[in-house]
């Protein structure tokens, strides 16, 4: 047996590139041969990358891109109108940079509607704005007496090709139907340049490469400056969510790679016996992790892109603009794919290091390392938790409006790290608590504590899933529990409000002496009843308003919502007898807890003419125009919608304060939810009478947000559990063989899995809930307005679902899916 090898002196000390190639090749072969063992991690990465591809495609294309107005230009300037200074600026840019494209808009109201559209003068062949125009039918206007309309404007105005549109004393023939392909909601009437006489906004498109926009004027922007001024954009949010998802996946993947590494223990031992160094061994496991990440990322992208291709046409319809096949945020997708590889790589790093600590002989015999009694300290977990608390507190103190986002993000990262650090100690504590429990409980919890490499990471992942759900649930409850700044759906599906030109808020304090708009109330009342009749109902209530509104004395708090008058008709409509409230009550409200608010003020008359703040930064309350601490009584019969009369001023207060009432609209209530056609007809009728209507918006209810968050949290936790419980139990599979050989029935085996699942779920629920509340307390305690009182609204039922129902479901699921007798009692073969 001869070989041509001559000398070993010039070989690299650690094998160099040939050794690394050999290890990579083996890792790739193992992935191909044993991909089923890694199907869990692969599936998670595929799902995450696919969801990201579709998700960011939808999220960045659904709202209008902030760059949409640029057309093909690099610079965009906007002016509120055209004066000599603007004209000279445009001339300067033209001379300095070459062609400019000027687009002038004048806002025009649609009769009978609060909606408007633009009368737009634009060169359809302009150098930069061409991409903002597309011809649907007909042709572009070429003379002063021609116009092209968007289909929405044409419908609203009841015009078609060939019709004549009269606006501002000018008659124009409709020669085309157009659209803005970048924004299908952009409603406008296109005329040739120079035809807009009183522009309300002028957009100038030009190219000034290499010139800082700020040197040209504060109104000049570029795509780069837009991106810098809007750090919290869909791309940033997507990357943050992807990072969080990959963190969760990495936690599960640690357990997965640990088990895979353990199954290959004898191969690893053989490799070491053959002369592989520790670096070689680590490379095999890490390369395996990276390969799983690469394969998962590529397959995930392909799946996601296919889904994107299938969904794109529907998205174009719902997003109201044309979306290109490749119009995806590629940077986000590439970052997501890279994160998948990085997450899988780092998830494999820990088991890789652990493998090199196992002796070669133990590895060759397939014996996993005996769990070491490591005396780890809780200190790092405590320190990181304190850091998270401080950062989240700083975010809470920033007061919102985009500030504190960095602190918020870093705070959550620190909190996540803290949960990961705390997880092993929670398992140890649990095993101590249950040390006198029944056999199955004792064994299951002890195994969880002994093999913390995978159970700890699974627990951390479950805890993070619960944490997210708890934060959303409690924060939503806090937001929707704010009785002053009332949130929620505006109306129910069976309600419709018809507004007179006064609108829902009346003239407001400070305008009491202003002349109210003149309109034919009798005619409007008639038309309102016509609308109600057309909707098949006689349930119509006249809504009256005054110049009064509510405010909180503390600056920074604001009351939201209209303040209608509690007329006898309105009270009757909601079956509220006058005997149900105090005759001297000033305000009636259905908002729970509203009556207990202190420092409320009912302001009216000319309050805002002389309103100021006291030394304590409280609004002053002169008796001439302000009633301090009005008597507020809660009445459950009033409707809850934010636009509905959920809070009303009594007739007693109206008379007592000498207020004048004005008719601001009519509330129509139907037996069945309103259809789109009914709403369209009602809008047309209202428009013809100079009124406008409001119907239910898409704002979700607090219950729907909280319930969905709870459901997603439970499913996320159970999903992680379902995917990791097999890995967690696989470590103790030899124990299971011994138990079976010793005569243990399937009941004990079922109980072991059930307790393992239930214990992990319960512990994850507790750790996640505690961590979630730590985050919320840290954030709200520094909130100068509400402080911790904002957390007074505890969604008890939803928290109980997370804390009790989820672990119960995990326990039952574990019991039902476990109990199979081990397939083999022999030692696992190498091949």
């Amino acid at each position: 047996m001869s070989d041509p090898l001559d000398t070993v002196a010039d070989r690299p000390a650690h094998g160099g590139l040939p050794a690394r190639r050999a290890m990579m090749r083996w890792a790739w072969r193992l992935l191909r041969r044993e991909w089923r063992q890694q199907a869990l991690v692969l599936a998670l990465i595929v799902a995450a990358v696919a969801t990201t591809t579709v998700g960011v495609g939808v999220s960045t294309n659904t709202p209008l891109s902030p760059y949409v107005g640029f057309g093909t230009a690099h610079d965009l300037a906007t002016f509120a109108g055209v004066s000599s200074s603007e004209t000279s600026a445009i001339s300067r840019w033209h001379e300095r940079f070459g062609p400019v494209d000027v687009i002038e808009n004048q806002t025009v109201s649609i009769p009978g509607s609060i909606e408007t559209f633009d009368l737009r003068s634009q060169n359809a062949r302009g150098p930069y704005g061409q991409s903002l125009l597309a011809l649907v039918s007909g042709r572009y206007p070429t003379s002063a007496h021609q116009v092209a309309l968007t289909s929405g404007v044409a419908t609203s105005l009841g015009l078609a090709l060939g019709d004549v549109w009269r606006e501002g004393g000018v008659a124009r023939r409709v020669v085309g139907i157009v659209e803005n392909p970048r924004d299908l909601l952009d409603e406008f009437a296109l005329v040739i340049p120079g035809q807009v006489t009183q522009p309300t906004q002028v957009t100038v498109l030009f190219d000034a490469p290499g010139v800082a926009p700020s040197t040209l004027g504060s109104n000049v922007i570029t795509p780069e400056s837009v991106a810098q001024s809007n750090p919290v954009n869909p791309e940033t949010i997507s990357i943050a969510l992807v990072t969080l998802a990959m963190l969760l996946i990495a936690l599960v993947a640690v357990a997965g790679f640990t088990v895979v590494a353990q199954r290959r223990l004898r191969s690893i031992g053989m490799l070491e016996a053959t002369g592989a160094t520790d670096a070689n061994i680590r490379l095999v496991v890490r390369a395996n992790g990276a390969l799983v990440g690469v394969v998962g990322a590529l397959v995930g992208f392909v799946v996601g892109f296919a889904a994107w291709l299938a969904y794109r046409p529907s998205l174009e319809t719902s997003a109201h603009h044309v979306i290109g096949v490749l119009q995806l945020p590629w940077v986000v997708i590439i970052v997501a794919m890279a994160l998948a590889v990085v997450a899988a790589y780092f998830a494999a790093t820990r088991p890789a290091k652990a493998l090199t600590r196992i002796s070669v002989v133990a590895a060759l015999s397939g014996r996993p390392a005996t769990p070491r009694r490591v005396r780890r300290t809780l200190l790092p977990g405590v320190v990181v938790a304190v850091v998270a608390f401080v950062l989240l507190g700083a975010a809470g103190a920033s007061g919102g409006n985009g500030a504190g986002v960095l602190e918020l993000a870093l705070g959550f990262v620190a909190l996540t790290v803290s949960v990961v650090l705390w997880a092993p100690f929670s398992l140890t504590a649990l095993s101590r608590v249950t040390r006198r429990g029944p056999l199955a409980v004792r064994m299951a919890t002890r195994d969880l504590a002994r093999y913390r490499a995978r159970s700890g990471s699974a627990l951390a992942a479950i805890s993070l899933g619960v944490l997210i759900a708890v934060v959303v649930v409690v924060a939503s409850a806090a937001r929707f529990g704010n009785v002053l700044d009332w949130a929620g759906p505006n109306l129910s599906p069976t309600q419709l409000i018809i507004y007179t030109p006064i609108g829902p808020y009346g003239p407001g304090p400070g305008n009491a002496n202003a002349s109210p708009p003149t309109f034919n109330l009798a005619a409007m009342d008639h038309d309102a009843h016509v609308i109600a009749t057309s909707l098949g109902t006689r349930d119509i209530v006249q809504l009256e308003t005054t110049s009064a509104t509510l405010q909180h004395a503390a600056a920074g708090r604001s009351y939201s919502g209209p303040l209608y008058v509690a007329t006898p008709q309105l009270l009757r409509a909601f079956a509220i007898p006058t005997s149900s409230f105090s005759p001297t009550a000033d305000i009636l409200s259905m908002r729970p807890g509203f009556s207990s608010l202190t420092a409320m003020q009912l302001v009216y008359g000319n309050y805002f003419d002389h309103a100021g703040r006291s030394a304590a930064n409280h609004f002053v309350c002169p008796t001439s125009d302000c009633l301090a601490n009005p008597t507020i009584q809660e009445v459950t019969g009033l409707p809850s919608g934010t636009s509905a009369p959920n809070t009303v001023i009594t007739e007693y207060a109206v008379h007592h304060l000498g207020l004048t009432t004005l008719v601001s609209g009519w509330l129509v209530q139907t037996a069945r939810p309103l259809g789109a056609l009914q709403i369209t007809d009602a809008r047309s009728t209202a428009a013809a009478a100079g009124m406008s209507i409001e119907t239910k918006s898409s704002m979700p209810t607090s219950a729907s947000i909280i319930d969905w968050a709870t459901l997603v949290g439970i499913l996320l936790a159970l999903g992680i559990l379902a995917m990791s419980i097999g890995l967690v139990r696989s470590e103790a599979v030899s124990d299971l063989r011994i138990l079976t050989a010793a005569g243990a029935s399937s009941v004990l085996r079922r109980n072991l899995t059930a307790v393992t699942a239930g214990a992990l779920a319960a512990l994850g629920a507790v750790v996640g809930t505690v961590a979630g509340y730590v985050a919320l307390i840290a954030f709200f305690r520094t909130n100068t307005l509400d402080g911790l009182s904002a957390l007074a609204h505890v969604p008890v039922l939803n928290l109980l679902l997370l804390l009790l129902a989820m672990p119960a479901g995990a326990t039952v699921g574990g019991w039902l899916l476990a109990g199979r007798e081990p397939a083999a009692f022999a030692r696992q073969p190498l091949e």
Partner: protein, 242 residues
Amino acid sequence: MSFLEMRNVSKVYGTGPTEVRALVGVDLEVDRGTLVAVMGPSGSGKSTLLTIAGSLEEPTEGEVVIDGEPLSAMSRDDRARLRRRTVGYVFQDFNLLPGLTAVENVTLPLELDGVAAHRARGVGMAALEELGLAQRATRFPDELSGGERQRVAIARAVVGHRQLLLADEPSGALDSVNGEAVMEMIVAACHRGVAAVVVTHDAKLAAWADRVVLLRDGRVVDQTEPSSRESGPGPHPPVSTE
């Protein structure tokens, strides 16, 4: 100087009441071209002796010297390099890496040692050809018979000028025909100057050795030298293990 020297080697596992003395003061010398068989009842320390001799484990006491280099002076990476270049192992259950073909298994120590893949492959193919396995070179281990797998394992253990062959029950999972074939290969390697230590329960296989070492309770209780092998490859008369 012997190629392998074990001087007063002891190995203790565990401490206190769980203490197990696997080897006690073992001295062993193996010269180049010599085949030593280690026999003894279960638990006598045969496999421990082999793993310590091959640097897979460290002795609690004593010294192991291979080719004049004491293992105690070597770092973990140095010992790994020693296994790549000098020491080859053969195990009872073959221990071929399932994701690699036969030739890739053979060339693994070379590639780990920095030999370019194409060059290592040439060497591996030559080794397999000598063992009559050239046609099976691209098969994965689970596509080979037990005898073929062990032949591949031997090829891997001796490829690349390695001078010390350590075999733990190399024929334990094989029938008698394949078992004898394996011993023939080991003896052939010894004829090329390789020092070999074979742990076996089988007295018939031990008869192939130049020297038989008997272990009991971790101690060397006897060393016998079967009659000279000058007559050529083949078993010496069976030796008694008692």
